[in-house]
Amino acid sequence: MANMVKKANAFEILNHWVMAVSFIILAATGFGFLFHLEQLNSIFGNFNAMKLWHNWSGVVFAVSLFFTIFHYLPVSLSLGSDDIAWISKAGGYFSKKAVVPPQDRLNTGQKLLYLIVLTVGTAIAVSGLIIWLRPAAADIRKWVLLSHLVHNIGFVLMVTIIPLHIYLATLANPGTFRIMVYGTVPLEWAKKRHAKWVQKMGF
Amino acid sequence: MTNHWIDVKNADVILVMGANPAENHPISMKWIMQAREQRGAKLIVVDPRFTRTASKANIYAPMRSGADIAFLGGMINYILKNRLYFREYVANYTNAAYLVNPDFKGPGQLDGIFSGYDEKTRKYDKKTWAFQLDEKGLPKKDMTLKDPNCVFQLLRKHYSRYTLDKVSAITGTPKEKLVEVYKTYGSTGKPNRVGTELYAMGWTQHTVGTQNIKAMTIIQLLLGNIGLAGGGINALRGESNVQGSTDHALLFHLLPGYLPASKASLVDLKTYIEKLTPKTKDPKSVNWWGNRGKYITSYLKAIYGGNATKDNDFGYAYLPKLNEGQNGSWLVLFDQMFKGKFEGFFAWGQNPACSGANAGKVRKALTTLKWMVNVNLFDNETGSFWKGPDMKPQEIQTEVFQLPCSSSVEKEGSLTNSGRLAQWRYKAVEPIGEARPDSEIMNELYFRVKKLYQKQGGKFPAPIINLTWNYGEKGADGKIKKLDIHRVAKEINGYYLEDVFDKKAAPPKQIGKKGHLATNFVTLQADGTTSCGNWIYSGSYTEKEDKVINMMARRGKKDIGGLGMYPEWAWCWPVNRRILYNRASVNPAGRPWDTKRAVIKWNPNKLDPKTKKPAPGWDGDVPDGPAPPMADEKGKYPFIMRADGMGAIFGPGLADGPFPEHYEPLECPVQENPLSKKHRINPTVKLFYGTTGPHDEPKKEGGSAEDIFYSCDIRFPYVATTYRVSEHWQTGVLTRHEPWQMEMMPQQFVEIGKELAAEKGIKNGDKITVSSGRGKVWAIAMVTDRFKPFKVMNATVHQVGLPWCFGWQYPENGSGGDSANLLTPTIGDANTLIPETKAFMVNIEKA
C-alpha cells in the first residue's frame, strides 16, 4: 500500500463542501434572477422562495468564507520567486512537457484562486448584504446601485473562474479530487506536486 | 349669480376678487381655464395673498384686506375718466340719467357721510336721496347725462376723490398694478367684449360687505356687462346648497322666494301686500315684484291648505311676526344667547362654536342654554362645547341631544348651486346606524310637537296644528309613516287648487286644471286658487301634457349657441332662465350687443310651433318676460325685478348710502379713514361694544367685554384675514374625520410674509401664537413670499391669514388646532349683519 499523507483535515473538507454547495445554489439562483429563469420554479417553487434560498445560501457562503480566511491566508500571501516562475510558465498547462518550480502546500494557481475567492467573495457577500438589508444610510440609492454593480461583476468573475477551478481540480489534475473526499494523497504524488510542503512537513 | 358657472367660459376678462375659486370651487376653474385657453380670456386676481387662483392669473394685484371699495372706486373713476363705459347701455338701462334731489350731498362734502345722517340713531333719513319726479310721478331724466344733479354726474363727483394716488395709499396696491387692472377690465365696456366677476366671502364678510358688491354692480352696469353671456354679478356660494337654503328662507328676515318676513305692524294680509308690494307708474316697467300678493297668498295656501281661506285671511295670522326693528341674524342671536335670553338651541347642520365670529363668545353663550339639539353627522365643538378648553363642566346646566343625520349621498333631494341650478340627487347608500335624513328628523319633530299642542294646548297652537304637511302616507294617528321628498318638491312647485283661468283673455283661457301641478309662477293667483311653497321654484316639478316631470332631474345636453346654457339640464330658477336680466343683452331694438354671444334675440319672423302662425318672439334663453324689445311701444325695461325697471347705479335702498364709500374695518391699521377725518368706520353699523372707539372697559349700555376691539393699536399691529382651504370643508366637522384629507392638511397654520417673520424671529414651521382682542390660537407658521407687506398711508402694514377649518374636539388630542374665529370680532355688515371676519387686527409671537 502506498504511503498516504494528510493534505486536508475534516474541517477543511466540510468547509470546502459547504462553500461549494452554497456557491452552486447562489450561482444557479443568481442566473435565475438575472435571466428570469422561471424553469427554476420546479426546484424552488417561486421566486420569493428562491430569494430565501439565495439570501441564506449567501449567509452560509459568507460564514464559510470567513473560516476559509484562517486556513489559507498565510500560505497564500507568501508569494516568492517560485510563484512568479510558475505564473510565467502558465502553471505548465499549455505544454505537454512543461516543468514547474517546486510548490508549497498550495501551488501558485491555488494561491491565486484563494486570493480571488477571498476578495471577490467578500465583495459579493458585502454587496449582497447591502442589497438585502439596506442599512439606514445617507444616500441609500447610491450604495444600492454600487452594490448591484459590484455584486454582478463579482458574479461574472465567479461563474467564469469557478468552472475553471473545478476542471483544474478534477480532470486536469488527476489525484486532486480525492483530497476533497478523503483528505489524503499518496506521498509520491505529494512529493511531485507540493515538494516544498513535503519538505517542510518532514514526511 | 345672475349668470351661472359654465357661463364663465364665455368671458373676455374674468375678475376674481374676494374669492379664491382654485381652492374653494375647484370645478369652476375648468371654465375659467377654458376661457383662458380657448378665447384668450384674461384672468385678474385681486387679493391680499398670492393664492392658488392668483398663480393662474394674467394679472395679480395685491390689496390690503378691507380696502375693496377704494380699489373698485378707483376703477369707477378710471372708467369714467377714460370714457370706457358703454354709453348706450348706461343711458337706456340704468338710472344714470335720473335726477336726484338737489339737496343730496355726499361724503366729499360732508366729511364721510351722506346727507340725512342722525348721529344718535346711526341711521339715515333718506329724503334727500329721492329722485326728482315729473308730473306723471316718474323720475325726471337727463338723457344727455350732463345735468349736475343726474346720477351720472353725482357718480363722477363722488368717485373723483378716488384718485390713483389715494387708492394706492389706502389699498397698498402699487399704482401701475391699479392701472393695469383698471385698463384690462375697463376694456369690457365695448359692446363686443364682456367681463365677469367672481366674489365670495372676501367681499361679503365686511362691515361694508353689501356696498362692496354694489361697487362692482356699478362697474358692471357702466361697462354694460349685466345680462350678457360671460358677464353678470356672480357670487360663489360657500356651500353646495346654501343657495337653496337662502331660496327656501333659512334666514330670519325672509319667507321662501325672498318674500319679506312679516312684522307686527303689518296687521293683516292686505296690509302686508299693500306695504310690501313695490309700485310703479311707468307702463314700460314690468315691476315683477308687483306680483307679491300672488306669491304670499299661494305660499299660505301651500302651508295651511284648507285651513287658509278668504275668511281667515288665508292664515296670515299664523305667520310669525318680527317686532319693529327686531333682528334675528347670527351676531344678534348669539349676543342674545350670551345674555341668557334662550332656553334651547337647535344647532342643525352647523358648528357655531367654530364658525361663529368671536367664537369664544359663542362658546360662552352656549353655556347659558338649558338644552341643545346638535343635528350633525359627527359630534363637534358645538355638541361637546361643555368639554372644551376653558369650560367648567360642573357649572354648565345644558342638556345636549345629539341626533345623527344622513349625508347628502344617503338621501334623495335637490341641491341648488351658485348658478341657481337645482339638480336632483339620488340616494346612493343607506345611512348608517340611527342616522336619518334631516327631513325625517323634522317630520318626527313636527308630529311630536303637534301632538303636544293638541294634548296640552298652549299660547298659540293653531300655526303648528293647522300646517298641511302632506309629505307622505299618514297612519291612523295622522302621522306620516314615511316621508316622500318628492311630495315636498311638488308642494314647493305648487298646485292649481281649482280650475284657473286667465281672465284677461277673451274668452277667458284655462291655464290650470284643478289638482294639477302648477306650470310656473306666471299662473299663480292671489285669490287662493293656487298654492305654491316657493314661487321662484314654481315650474321645477311640474306637468307637461298630463305627464309629471321632475325638471330638476333632467340631464339633457343640448346647448344654445355654444354658450354652455344647456337648457335641458336640470332646472334653474326663475322659469329655467339661465342668465338673469338678459333683456339687457340686446339693444332697445332687440338685437344682441354681441352677436357672437347672443343670449336672446328678437325674432319678428318667429312662428308658433303648434299653429304655425306668425308669433314674433325671442330666440335663445328664456327671456326676462315675453314682451317685445324696449323700443317697441309694448316693449319693457330690462331690469324687471326693480320697480322702475332700471339697473341701479344710484341705490337709495341701502342703509349706508346710495353710493359705496370706503370705510375702514372695525379693526384697522390706520388712525383715521384716509377719506374722512370724522368717520373711520361705516357710520350705520350696529355696535355691539356700544362705542366706535376702542376702550378697555365696555361702555355702560349693551357692551360686553367679549365684544372688545382694538384698532390701530400697537398691541395688535398686523392685519389678519381668514380663508378656506381645498382640503377641508367649512369648520372641518366632516373633513377632519377623513384621514385622506387630514393627511394633506393636518394642522392649523398661519401664512406670514418673509419680512414679518424675519422681524419676529419666526422660522418656517415654527409653532406660533396668533392673538386678537378676543382670543388666541396656536398655528404653524408658513413663512412665504405669498404675503408681501403693504405700503398704506406711508406706513408698512403686514398682513397674515389663517384657515378656520380646525377645532379642538377632533383630532381628540387637539393636535389639529382650534378655529381662527376665536380671533374675529363681533361686528357685521350695515345691511345684512354678516360678520366681518375678513379684516381684523392681531399679534403674532413665537409659542
Binding site: F47, F155, L157, V159, L171, P174 | A22, E23, K30, A781
Partner: protein, 250 residues
C-alpha cells in the same frame, strides 16, 4: 392596441389635489398621520400609500411675489423602464397592453432594487417590502375607463388617451415638445412644460443609472459567456493538452 398615456399640464393644475384623493379612493389606500411642517405640501414624499402627489414649487417671478407651480409627481410608465430592467422577479413588474407599468405584489420578492433603478425615484415598498406605485389604474384602463386621477381633475391638467393623439393635441395647443416624448423610449406620462424642466423641479435628461445600463448590456451577457466560455475552454484544453500526468512533473 395603441399606446395610452397621460399628459400633465402644470399650467392648468390648480393644486386642488383631487388626484391624490381619487387615487387613494380607487386603490383603497390608507392615510398617514402627518404634521404641518410649514408647507401645504403633505405628505412630504410618495409612500406605499401615496401613489401620486402634487409638489408645490415656488420659483422667482418678475411681475408677481412668486411664481407658484403645481407639479404632479408619479410613476412615469417609461417604455424602457428602469424598474423593470433591474427587477429580478419575473412578473413583479410588467407592461400592460396599454403601455402602463403594472406591479404584482405576489410575484414581487421585496428586493427593492427597483427603487434604485428608477430614474425618478418613484417605487416605494410597504411593510412587507413589496413594491407599490401608480399602476395607471390598470384595472380601469383595461375596461376602457380613464385613471381615477384623470377623471377627477377639474381643469383637465391630467388628461388620458391615446399617446399619439395627446401629443398631437398638445402641439396644437402650442407645446412644441412635451417632456418625455423621447426619453427612456418615450414616457407614458408626459408633461406640458412652458419652461425648462428644472423650473418645475424635474430632471432635464432623465436616464436609467449608468451602472444599470452597463450591467444590462455588458455584465449580463458576460455571465453566460463567462460560464459557457469556461466550460468550453476546459473541454478544449483537455482535448488539446490533456491531464497533467505525474511522470511529467519534476
Amino acid at each position: 392596441m395603441s399606446r395610452k398615456a397621460l399628459v400633465i399640464s402644470p399650467e392648468l393644475c390648480i393644486g386642488c389635489r383631487g388626484c391624490q384623493t381619487a387615487c387613494k379612493s380607487w386603490n383603497q389606500l390608507s392615510a398617514a398621520k402627518t404634521t404641518n411642517k410649514g408647507t401645504v405640501e403633505n405628505p412630504p414624499d410618495l409612500t406605499p400609500n401615496l401613489y401620486n402627489k402634487i409638489r408645490y414649487v415656488e420659483v422667482p417671478s418678475e411681475s408677481n411675489p412668486v411664481r407658484w407651480l403645481f407639479v404632479s409627481q408619479r410613476c412615469m410608465h417609461c417604455d424602457d423602464a428602469g424598474c423593470m430592467k433591474i427587477c429580478p422577479a419575473p412578473g413583479a413588474l410588467f407592461k400592460t397592453k396599454e403601455g402602463a407599468v403594472g406591479f404584482d405584489k405576489e410575484k414581487c420578492i421585496g428586493c427593492k432594487l427597483c427603487v434604485a433603478g428608477c430614474p425618478f425615484n418613484i417605487p416605494r415598498y410597504d411593510e412587507k417590502d413589496k413594491i407599490t406605485k401608480c399602476n395607471l389604474c390598470s384595472d380601469r384602463i383595461a375596461e376602457g375607463l380613464e385613471p381615477a386621477c384623470a377623471k377627477t381633475c377639474p381643469t383637465g391638467a391630467i388628461s388620458y388617451g391615446d399617446r399619439n393623439s395627446l401629443i398631437g393635441k398638445a402641439q396644437g395647443a402650442g407645446y412644441q415638445k412635451l417632456y418625455g416624448e423621447a426619453d427612456l423610449g418615450g414616457l407614458g406620462v408626459l408633461y406640458a412644460f412652458k419652461d425648462a424642466p428644472k423650473v418645475y423641479g424635474m430632471e432635464e435628461n432623465p436616464a436609467i443609472p449608468e451602472s444599470v445600463i452597463f450591467w444590462h448590456k455588458v455584465l449580463k451577457p458576460l455571465a453566460y459567456w463567462g460560464l459557457g466560455g469556461a466550460v468550453v475552454a476546459s473541454l478544449v484544453h483537455y482535448v488539446a493538452f490533456g491531464p497533467k500526468k505525474d511522470e511529467e512533473v519534476k
